[in-house]
Amino acid sequence: MDVKQEVRKLTPTVRPRIIGYGSVALLTVVLPFLLQSELYYLDTLILALLWASAAGAWNLAGGYGGLLSLGHAAFFGIGAYASSLMYVKLEVSPWIGMAAGAILAGVLGLVTGMVTLRMKGPFFALTTIAITEVLMIVAVNWSDLTNGSKGVNIPYHPGFSNIAFDSKIPYYFLALAICLIPFFIARWLERSRYGYELMAVRDNEAAAQALGIDSVRVKVGILVISSAITAVAGAFYAQYITVIEPYHEFSFAVSVQMVLITMIGGLGTKWGPIFGSLIVTGMDTFLRDVLVGAQGGVQALLYGLMLVLVVLFIPEGLIPWMKRRFRLKNGGVHNG
C-alpha cells in the first residue's frame, strides 16, 4: 500500500476538521469588522467573550478540578479593583495593573486553596462565598482606598498603554485573546500529566492519592491558575465598562454567572464556557430587544429556570449532550 493511498484514506476525516476550524478562526477575525457599524451587537460579542474568559477560568477549577467555587467574584473583583485603582491613584498602566491583579488573586487563590484543603462536600462552596462577602464589605468600608460604595470611575484617555480605545475592535481582540488563555490551558489539561492527575483527584481523591498523586499540589495549583485568569478577566471588564462598584464586582450574581455559563455550555469541557457564554449573553441581548419596556427581572428569571433545568436534566451541559445526540443519531455507540 503506497503512501498516497494512505493519505487519500485520511483526508476525508482530516479535511472537514481543518475546514471547520479554519472557518471558525476566519469568522472570529472577520466578525468585528462586519459588525463595525452595529456597535450594539459588537458590544454583545465583546461581553460574551469577556464572560467566556471568566467562565473558562472558573471551569478550570470547577469543571476540571471539581472545586465548586461560588466565590469567583472575589478574584474577578480583585482584578477589577487592582487595575483600576493602580491606574486612577498611581497612574500605572492598566496592563501592569492587570498583571498585579492576577498575582494578587493568585495569592488569594493559594490561601483559599490551602485553608480549604480538608473540606468536603458543601463546605468549600460556603467558604468561597464567605471570602467574597468579606472582600465586598472591605471594598465598601475601606473608602479611603476604594471610594467605598460609590465605586471607581476610570477616566477615558485613549491609548494602547491605558487599554482605552476609540473603536471597539481592539477591545474585541483583547477579549478574544483573554478568552483563549483558559481555552488553551483546558486543552493542555486534557492531554497532560498534570491534567490527568487533576481529573483523577476530582473523580476519586482517595484512589488518586493511593496512586501517589499529591492531591494538595494538584488542587491548590488549579485554584491559583483559575483565580489569576479570573482576575485578568475582571481587569478587562473594568477597563471596558470603565465603572466598577463593590456591590456588583464582588456580588454572588457574578460568581453564579460564571457557574451558570459553564454549566449550560458543558462542565469540564474546553468549548463549554465559550458556547455557554454565547448562548447566555446572546439570549440577554435578544431578550432585551424583545422585552423592551417589560419589567426588569424577566431575563434573570429565565436564567434561573435554565440553571435548574440544565442541572437536573442535562447535567453534562449542552455540548456533550448534543455530541451524544449526534452520535446516537449516526448509529454511534453510547459511551457517556
Binding site: L68, P122, T127, E133, N141, V256, Q295, V311
Partner: protein, 291 residues
C-alpha cells in the same frame, strides 16, 4: 448595663435566627440538600405577611394561620416539582438547583411586587417594652417567644410521633430507614415542607421588624449558613445555640465596631470555624450518603 442590654438584644434576635436556621439544618440533615432557596422562602413569607396586612388588615401574628400552611405547601411543591430530581445526586447538584430556584423566586418577586422597600406599620412594630432600664423591642420579644414555642413543638413532633421518628431515622441512616418501611420521598417532602413552614413562621414574625424587598433573603441566608455551620450542619440543637451565639456576636460587634462592619465579624468567625472545625462547634460528622 449596656453589656446586659446588648446581650439581651442579641439573644432576642438570635432566637429568630435560630428559628430560620432550624429549617435549613433539618433539610440538610434529612436529605443532604444545601438549600439556597431558604432565604427566599423567608422573603416570600414576609411578603405574604405584608400583603395580608395591607390588603386585609390582618396583622402578621394572626396571619400565621394562613402563612404556615401556604409556605409548607410551597415547600412541598418545590421539593416535589424540582428537588426530588436532585436529592440522589451530589451536593453540587442540589446547591446549583437551589441557586436556580432562588434566582427564579427573587425575580418573580421583583416582577410581581417591584424592588420597593415595604414594611408593615402597625402600632406594635415600633413599640418597645421597658423593664428595669432595659429596652426590649416588642415585635422581637414576641418573635422570640413564638420561636421558643415552635422549637418545643418541633422537638415534641420529632421525638414523639411516628412521622417525626421516621424523619429522624431517615436522617440518621437513610437505607436502614427505607428497610424499616419508611417511604423516602414522603419523608423528604414532609421534611422540606416543615423546613419551609419554619422559615415561613420566621418570615411572618420578622415582617414587622425588617423591611421586605425581593433580595432580602440573601442576607438572612448568609446568616443562617453561619448559624448552621457554627452549630454543626444537620444538628438541630446546634442550630439553636449557633443562632443565639450569632445574635449576641452581631449585637455586641454592632455596638463596639459599628453596624456596617458587624457582618465582617461573624463572617470571619464563619471562615475560622469552617477551617478549624467544619463539623461545627456542637455537631458530629454526619454519615455521608452513598448516591
Amino acid at each position: 448595663m449596656i453589656l446586659l442590654q446588648l446581650l439581651i438584644s442579641g439573644i432576642l434576635i438570635g432566637g429568630v435566627y435560630a428559628l430560620i436556621s432550624l429549617g435549613l439544618t433539618l433539610v440538610f440533615g434529612v436529605m443532604r440538600i444545601v438549600n439556597f432557596v431558604h432565604g427566599d422562602l423567608l422573603m416570600i413569607a414576609m411578603y405574604m405577611a405584608y400583603w395580608l396586612f395591607t390588603l386585609f388588615g390582618i396583622d402578621n401574628y394572626t396571619g400565621l394561620l394562613v402563612i404556615i400552611p401556604a409556605t409548607a405547601g410551597l415547600g412541598a411543591l418545590i421539593y416535589w416539582g424540582v428537588l426530588r430530581f436532585a436529592v440522589r445526586r451530589s451536593h453540587d447538584a442540589s446547591i446549583l438547583a437551589t441557586i436556580g430556584i432562588s434566582i427564579v423566586l427573587q425575580n418573580a418577586a421583583l416582577i410581581l411586587w417591584s424592588a420597593d422597600y415595604r414594611s408593615i406599620n402597625n402600632e406594635l412594630a415600633t413599640r418597645s417594652v421597658e423593664w428595669k432600664g432595659l429596652h426590649l423591642s416588642a415585635p422581637l420579644l414576641i418573635a422570640f417567644g413564638v420561636a421558643i414555642l415552635v422549637t418545643l413543638l418541633l422537638f415534641a413532633f420529632l421525638n414523639h410521633t411516628y412521622w417525626g421518628k421516621a424523619i429522624r431515622a431517615a436522617s440518621m441512616d437513610r437505607y436502614a430507614a427505607i428497610l424499616m418501611g419508611v417511604k423516602p420521598q414522603q419523608i423528604f417532602t414532609l421534611s422540606f415542607a416543615i423546613g419551609t413552614a419554619l422559615v415561613g413562621i420566621a418570615g411572618a414574625l420578622l415582617a414587622s421588624v425588617y423591611t421586605v424587598y425581593p433580595t432580602v433573603g440573601a442576607q438572612f441566608l448568609l446568616v443562617s449558613f453561619v448559624v448552621v455551620v457554627l452549630g454543626g450542619l444537620g444538628s438541630l440543637r446546634g442550630a439553636i445555640l449557633g443562632g443565639l451565639m450569632v445574635g449576641i456576636v452581631e449585637s455586641t460587634s454592632a455596638y463596639f465596631i459599628g453596624s456596617s462592619m458587624k457582618e465582617l465579624v461573624y463572617l470571619l468567625l464563619f471562615i475560622l470555624i469552617l477551617i478549624v472545625r467544619p463539623t461545627g462547634l456542637f455537631g458530629q460528622r454526619l454519615p455521608e450518603v452513598d448516591r
